[in-house]
Each structure stands twice: as structure tokens, then as C-alpha cells.
């Protein structure tokens, strides 16, 4: 049980980091940022 808690905690933290990175941190391609050519 302790091992599964550790696994879930690590997986959860990775998921949180990934979600924030995927939606927020990665710069969007310039095309979709609304800059005119």
C-alpha cells in the first residue's frame, strides 16, 4: 500500500507538471499567437 501511494504521488506530480507545461509553459507556435505576418 505504501508503495502504491508513492507511485500515485509521483504519477500525480508528474501529471500536474505535464498539464501545466502542456497548456501554459510551452510557447505556442507564432502562427497561432495572433501575430500578423
Amino acid at each position: 500500500m505504501t508503495i502504491s501511494k508513492a507511485v500515485v504521488t509521483v504519477a500525480g506530480l508528474v501529471a500536474v507538471a505535464w498539464v501545466l507545461w502542456y497548456f501554459l509553459a510551452t510557447p505556442r507556435p507564432a502562427r497561432s499567437r495572433g501575430e500578423r505576418p
Partner: protein, 867 residues
Amino acid sequence: MTAAPAAGPVDAAPAGGGRRRVTFPVTGMSCAACASRIQRQLRATPGVREASVNFGTTKATVELDGARPRDVMQAVREAGYDVGTDTLTVAVADLRSALDTSRLEHAIREVRGVLAAVANPAAESVRVTYVPGFLDPRDLEEAVAAAGYVLAVPVAESDPVERERLVREREVRDLTRKLVLAALVAVGAMVASMPLMAAASVGPADLLARVLMPLDGALRRALPWLYAADPQSLKLALFVATVPVMAWSGRGFYVSAWRGFQHRSADMNTLIGVGTAAAMLYSTVATFAPGVFTGAGLPADVYYEAVSAIIALILLGRLLESRAKGRTSEAMRRLLGLAPRTARALRDGAEVEIAAAAVVVGDIVLVRPGEKIPVDGVVRGGRTAVDESMLTGEPVPVAKGPGDEVVGATLNTTGAITVEATRVGRDTALAQIVRLVEAAQGSRAPVQGLADRIAGVFVPLVIAVAIAAFVVWFDVGPSPAFVYATVVLVSVLIIACPCAMGLATPTAIMVGTGRGAEQGVLAKGGSALEAASAIDVMVLDKTGTVTEGRPAVTDVLVALEVVDRMAAGTPADGEAAVLQLAAAVERLSEHPLAAAIVGAAAERGLVLPEATGFRAHEGRGATATIGGHAVAVGSATFLIDLGVDVGPFTDAVDGLAAQARTPVLVAVDGVPAGLIGLADPIKASAVAAVRAFKAMGLEVVMVTGDIRKVAIAVAGEVGIDEVESGMLPAGKVAVVKRLQAAGKRVAMVGDGINDAPALATADVGLAIGTGTDVAVEAADIALMSGDLTTAVTALELARRTMRTIRQNLFWAFAYNVVGIPIAAGLLYPLAGVLLSPVFASAAMAFSSVFVVTNSLRLRRFRPSVAR
């Protein structure tokens, strides 16, 4: 023969060369984040100068500079959405006898904005599928003519509001069907879950369970067979019933969520999609592989009823929202409903009744008393009074005779008139107003940018919070930890929909601008309303704003010996001579005072001598040569500058000015010959309006080109303490800039011509009393009547609208600030309360409905100053 509906080129040629603004419907948007995503994609499209997408109206407005409609549609599709299309049936004469209709179909498909055309020779009609906004009916008419056919009825651009109503109706119907299925399954699933829940592991902590538990006993008596049923069979039946709810009723959420995910953006669909999918996945595993849970010592519970109930409640919210949005465009519908459908035109000397849309420029139309005038035009015969309240808000009919302009959709009251049409169709004043209101309703207020940015960051944060809550519950929560953790994850995702945030601003702007149009206040957009809600100083122009702007000659004083010497006794009347000289010079001037002098001369039947070498000195006076004599007309300072000794008239000038009359001096060959006094009556509404401005806490400043004494006399009568007199147009700009430099936000009301630079400089420019022309284009807010109290109405409306937006945003945020911690289980350690996902979805749906309803309250806005 009828050809298959092949997709034709949306455009054969670039969009007419120059820039064009086009508004078209976008389908598939479900939240504010969708709107900003499409907007980004459109702005990145080459040849698109500006793009704004409004979630409230589900419309996009683009300014095309070289881009073709096809490029725009491509961009919308790339963003994962689609352009709304519509169909139109045009009647074509003699199509029945045509052997081959493919040429006609092909010609129509080549028209810009047309997607498909199918001819039906039996019905003598062609069904055209097109993109609203891109299609110009005139192009369609030309294409039909070029193919050798004749349209039986002219294609008036089909009523955009009616079209919108139909789209809305379709949406409501679609949502209703999906809701009915989801709701039936949800109720059935809840009943069928009771026996399962009775033995469930998440017990009295769950709010929903607490509510439902008393029902358990009753149900056990009513449906004993249900409790006797095999739990595994019940789970299977629930699974079978829930799949169609997800696949059909909830399909839109999953599709949008996936599209958003691909574009690295997350919105409410992501939350609902992930939340319900998590509940479904958990339940499916518990149904088909219960060993996974039981093997780990966990109960194999199912949450099918939560999936259906969440989808049903969110669809219910959408449905209410869709119906409320339909009501927000009511103002437009009322405006368009003002136009009469038919007109009586003179064709070949005979009176024929034709569709109002078929009237062409130059047509003579007959309008009887009690009828509405069908188009804009000039009266050619008859006299009447016209009720123009629809345009100006002023209830008193205006007298009209030959040569006077009349506006379409206004009401002819007393006499029969004939009108020559000067502007028809899209060019009429009403059409312009409708376009303006439509554009304003779709515009974005600056405050919206904030809401969008927050919503974009908000959803990923919520997902992060939900995962974190899951981990915490799993690690330190009560047993069975995995079950509690899943419930919390789903609840957080479901409760945190930013939908209310997305609706907060656009719905208020839509209702506010629509209500304004009904009150004679045309705001150019959300930014105008936002600026008008926060001003500190009201700058009023005198002539035309505080006063009627129609000055009349009240006094003429004469230095007789001069006139005698010059005119040798004829005309005998010295006053007439002074007027005659002044009018001869001023005839060439465009100043309102000049018009009054010329008018007074015309009233007395004076014949004006010819003036040569005319020169206007802006805001000061004019000079010309008449019969070899140098004549100067203008203010006392102007004549002094010219070297005229105005001494004899000094007392008279001061006397007139003290009575709020403007003195104009006339000099001949450098000698003062006479003095003309002009008075401009103060508007009845000015006093009440100034009082209202002051009550709103505004500083009121009057600016005028007139002399100080007149300005002070007028200001005193209406209650203004601060006066800037002797101002040329540039001086008015300087006054506005000086106030702004002092950190004040300035609104300026003017009649839009000589005040234009100051109107543009001010934070908010209000053009007064100009219903149709350039002024509407120039100002931020156009006031349709000359009544100064409409400026008060405009400010009140702006304040109310912004207050509504702030309330909406506050509610939307406060709701999340309170809701998310509860859903995450913060109350559990304190009060032992846990929110069920079903409650979370009900709360979410309510927040959206609350915001829309709050915006709709603006429809009841009434101006405080009665007109």
C-alpha cells in the same frame, strides 16, 4: 435537370480588391476559450487585418485585406470549428421550360460566398447554400442575369435576424432532444443505483447520498424486484443505458475537448470531458473487471448515474443559455421590424404595390397618412408631418414639404406625400443603424481581454488542482481512498467551468447596446461603453449642443450716415441696407451665424448684390468687396484687428452680449456701418441634462467659439460654471487635452462638424442630433436626437452595463473560489461534507444561467431623465 449539389468555389476572385468587413456565423463554439482560439487563427491568416470572434453572438467579424472567403473558412476549420451556412431559395422566371439548368447552377456557384446551388425546374427556383455575410445579393442577381435568366423576385438579403432566430431554434431543438435522453437515463440510473448505493462505500459523507437515502426505504417497498435483481445485471443495464448518453448527448463535449487538446488549449469541455470520462472509466472497469478493485480490497462501485446526470445538467444549462441569448437579440429584431415590407411605387404612370426591397433609387413612391415611409428619399409632392421617433426618440412629428428629406421606416402622420427614393436597401439610414448595432453587439470590451486571459490559465490550473486533490485524498484520505479520490477528482473538474466568465462580458454588451439603440443611443462598441462609464468631465459644445444651433437675427442697429453715403438713399431702410451688405458677404460663408443673417435678408425679400474677393477668417468673420467698397463682417475683435474704430458700438455690443445675444459688426471701407444681434435659443433639455451631469458627480465645462459675455450668459442660464469662450476648433482640442493632462477622463458632446477634432481627442466623443451621416462614423457614441438628456441616458446606460459586467465577473470568480475548495473536499475534515459530482454540475449550470439572466436585466434599463 437537377444536378447534384457540388461544392463550388466559394470565391472566384479576391474580395473585391479593397478592404471589407464581413460578419459570419461560426458553429461549434462552446466556450469563450473557443472564441479566442478562432480569433488567433483568423488573425494569423494572411490578408486578414483584424478579426474578432464573439462567443455570445457566435459570430466572427473579420476585416479582409486581400484574403478570400475561402481562406477565412479554411482558417476557422483549421481551428477546429466550422462556418455556419444557410440556404436561400430564389425564384427564377421561366426555369420550367429550361432544358439544361447546369449552366445556371454553375454561374451561381461562381458567386462569392456561395457553396452550392441546386436548381429545381418544377418549382422554378434555385436553392442556394451560402455563407451569410460573404454573399452580396447583387452578385447573385448579376450571376443569374449573366446566365441568361431573370429573377422572378429580387433577392433582398434575407433577414439576418430571422435567420439567426432559425439557427437558434434549431440549436434549442437539438439541445432539448439530447437533454431529454440524458435526463431520462439519469433518472432511471439513479433509481437503479439505489440498491447498489444502499451497499455503497461512499456513505453519509456524500451530500447526494444523504438526500437520497430517505428515498431508499420507499423505493424498496415500491420496487422490490429491483432490489431482488442481480447487482451485476443492474450494472450491465446501467452501462448499456449510459453509453448512448455519452456518445450522443455528450458527444459535443468530447469532440470540443479533443480539438482543444490538440491546440494546447483547455476550456470547459476539457473539464466536463475529463470528469465524466473518468467516472465512466472507473464504472466500466468496476462492471466488467470488478476483480481489479476487489482484489485490492476496494469495493467495485459504479457511478453511471453521475455521468448521465452531469451531462443532463450541463445540457440544461446550455439550453437555458441558448434561449436567453436568443432574447438578447430582440432589440435588433425590433429595429428591423420597423421597416415596412411593401411600397406603392409609380411605374409607367400607374400605382403598383411592390416589395420595399424592390424599390430602386429614383423611384417615386406614394405614402399615405398612417403609413411608414419605405425608403430614404426626398419629398417631391404634398405636405405632412413625419413621426421620426424611431430614429431620434423625439415624439413630436416633424413638418415635411417638397425638398425635405425623409427617412425610411419613419411614420407619415397627417398628409399624403410622394417621395423620390434616394437610398435603398443596405444604404438606408435604418440599415446603417442595424449594421452599427450588430457590429457593436459583436465587439469586445477591453475588460473582456482580462476575462479571456484568466480563463485560458484557469482551466489547466483546475486540472492541476484536481489531480493534486486526487493524490492527497489517495494518500491521506479515509478508506476506500481510491473511491474518494476519484469522486473528488470528478467533482473538482465539473464544478470549475469557466463558462460564466466567458459569458459575463459579451452578454452584457449585447443587451446594453441593444437597449441603447432603442433609447436613441448608438454606442460604437463595448470599448465606448466602458470608456463612457468612467468619465470625470463632461465638455459641452455651446452651439447645437446646449443651444438649438439655429441662431436668428434679433437686433439690427445702424450708423445711418455711412449707409446713406454709400447707398445714396436706396434702399431707404438703413436696417435693410446693413442686413443686405452683411448677407451679401455671408452668403459665401458656411458659418451658422452667416446662415441666420442670409436667412433674415431672404425673409425681408432683399436682393443681394454680388460680392467679389470673399475671404473667410475661421471663427472670426469674413471680408469681401461689394460695388467697389470693402465690406467686413465679424466679431468686434476681428474688426479691431482690421483697424476699424468700433467705438460708437461698444456699449451696444456689451448690451447684446449680456442678453446672450451674439453681436456681429458690419464695416464698410473701415468705418462701422451697423451691428446685428443674433440669438440662439437654449434647448429646453439643456438645464435638466446639466443638472443630471452634476448629480452624477461630473465636472461640466462649456466650450464655444462665441465671445465670453454671450458664453457666460448662456452658461448661467443652464447652470454651467466653467466656460471656455472664443475657441476655434483647435482651441477646443486644447481644452480637452488640458483636462486630460490633469488626469481627468473627458467626454465631449458636440454636433459633430466643427467639434469633430475635439470629439476624436476626448476619451469618449458623443455626436448629438445626427441620425445618419459621417458623425455616426466619427463619434464613439451617436445620439439620435438633439435632446441633450440622451447624453445623460448614454452615460447611465454605460454605467449600468459596466456594473453588470463587474457583477457577472465577480459572481463567476467568487463561485469558483468557493466551489473548488468544497469540491476538493476541504470541508470534509471540518464538517464531514463532500460534494457529489452531480451537485457540482448543477452548481456549474446555475452559475452560467445566473450570469446570462443578470445581463438580461439590462433590458429593463430606463433613463432617469424623462423626455
